[in-house]
Subunit: 349 residues, 2 copies
């Protein structure tokens, strides 16, 4: 089969490798209908040292079940499925508490053992927990828009949703979303659905912030850093935001976040932090009783409700895709996203 590998910064290659096979009775093999490139894939695209072991890439996929292991109970060949970006048994203590990204038996795609999902075929561990069936739909009947929206449930839309959910967005709240990438825009969409009174989107790319406005942003702030903080404080009469969603993962975004959060408010992070230490003391979070929340989104917890909303036409998160390429052109997909010529690129084998 064809599969995507990162050999070093800027060096993405689609290569022919052996088809994956069932290794454990709980595995399934899925044939990819649609995969995509994630904003978090751009971190190694910008920084991975060359010359080491290539990394298999991709953790988002809509596909069709090709084969199941003998212990798999809930899936059948031909089912249309979504793969949440982390695999999990969905039965352990942390899964039952809704934190499937901390599953005691689970893990993340992209290791040599599990491979990546930017590939024609994928071996999915713990398939009963790790795959979610889209009921009564086939790739042919779904239509391109619905397929794209279902693909966002692998990660990007539900990561934005997680940010709003763990930020406790509710009616009457002022929400600031930092980052106009696909996750930030998804957080705008969920915040509006949760009833936010005002949604300030911090971003500077008009085509993206236009989608943000369509999804519910009431204000757009293009400034960054201290200037951006001052603008948001002005917009909120000097009070700050009840909820700040940080959908970037870089430290300047974190600093903006605690700068605009209101006393007693919540900073909810879903951009994978590219830093380990950051301010949390009296001058940043502690002094104003600001809370810090977020983490890798347990998207498995939100699947059933979100699938129903997509199929009912209530949400259209697939609009974040503004380019689709053949899988073999994955390198071009990375280039487009890295250059910000595309918001999010779908890959079709």
């Amino acid at each position: 089969m064809r599969a995507t590998f990162m050999h070093g910064a800027g060096d993405v290659r689609v290569e022919t490798v052996p088809d994956p096979v069932i290794q454990q009775p709980t595995d399934a093999i899925v044939r990819t209908v649609l995969a995509c490139v994630c904003g978090s894939d751009l971190h190694p695209y910008r920084s991975m040292p060359a010359g080491g072991r290539p990394d298999p890439m991709g953790h988002e996929l809509v596909g069709v079940v090709e084969e199941v292991g003998s212990a798999v109970r809930t899936l059948r060949k031909g089912d249309l499925v979504i793969a949440p970006f982390a695999f999990s048994d969905n039965t352990c203590v942390f899964c039952r508490e809704g934190f499937q990204t901390s599953c005691v038996h689970g893990g993340f795609y992209g290791s040599p053992e599990t491979g990546g999902l930017q590939a024609e075929l994928a071996r999915i561990p713990l398939a009963d927990g790790s795959l979610v069936v889209v009921p009564d739909v086939t790739p042919e009947s779904a239509g391109a828009g619905v397929l794209a929206s279902l693909l966002t449930l692998s990660d990007v839309y539900l990561t934005g949703h997680h940010a709003a959910h763990t930020g406790q967005v509710e009616p009457g709240k002022v929400v600031t979303v930092i980052g106009d990438g696909a996750v930030g825009l998804s957080a705008v969409l969920t915040s509006r659905r949760l009833g936010a009174e005002r949604i300030v989107l911090m971003g500077r790319h008009a085509t993206r912030t236009d989608l943000g406005r369509r999804w519910g942003a009431t204000d757009v702030v293009a400034e960054r850093g201290a200037e951006g903080v001052a603008r948001v404080m002005d917009l909120t009469d000097g009070e700050g935001s009840h909820v700040v969603i940080e959908a970037v993962g870089l430290r300047p975004a974190y600093e903006q976040a605690y700068g605009v959060v209101r006393p007693g408010g919540i900073v909810s992070r879903v951009g994978v932090p590219q830093y380990e230490e950051a301010p949390v003391g009296f001058g940043s979070l502690f002094g104003k009783n600001a809370r810090l929340a977020g983490g890798p989104a347990p998207v498995r917890a939100y699947q059933e409700a979100a699938i129903a909303q997509v199929l009912a036409g209530e949400i259209d998160p697939g609009l974040v895709f503004d380019a689709e390429l053949p899988l073999d052109a994955a390198a071009e997909g990375y280039r487009l996203m890295d250059a910000r010529e595309a918001l999010k690129v779908a890959l079709r084998p």
Copy 2:
């Protein structure tokens, strides 16, 4: 009057200064019945450079109203009152949201303008918001135990209460409290009242942890650092604590906190952080969706309920006081607490 000043590390003096007078029509003058030394007073006691301007000390007080400004509406001469450790108008937008420590007109005691509360008399700004009347009680009728418990509502008990409250302690939860000082013990008391199933107290001073057990600690862990983390993880079957209350304020305590918090759990800090930066990335908080909460306790928000509980004999937080000295012996009070010969020292003018 006599009042307490810090001249430098280890150098506390009680000095004669002019009596405070009404400066604003919203001020009140209060005659101290009982004041005390706070764990946070020990930070400058250990680190304040000598030779600069002496700082007036103290932010906890039970007293009797001596005089009120012309705009004060809710207080009368002779009222027994508690002074929460921050003054606030209790009417601004943040006060109404329950974060009086972020009052837009408020502030903290111990500046040259407002003075400290380890003194015979105190000028209380914004007195209608900053003082809470204890109804139907006089210093004489209250009894020493009740007076001591009322004094803890200035800060220490309600700071522990805030930690448990913002940590969302509820029935069925495992709570770990880091620190066996008066705040940590108070957090144990509140956690038990909120229904925690299990309360692990991390501390190594038997007289303190004994009070912790009396108030509801089910386990005591004396080890610190990696050893302490391992012990708590063992006690929780490797799962960690739903809530971790950090009542120390030093970075090693913070590191213990994220080490023992369960995926999706909350680290609630009320020890004033003696650090600004700390780990918050994938390896500490983010990876397991752990939340960080806490800050200077808005104790004003909790006064009425707590006063009723003290007067009804439902709680006895005054047990944290194990020494009482005349105000003039304040320096000895600091020494006793710094040397851990006393848990908390009351000062009586």
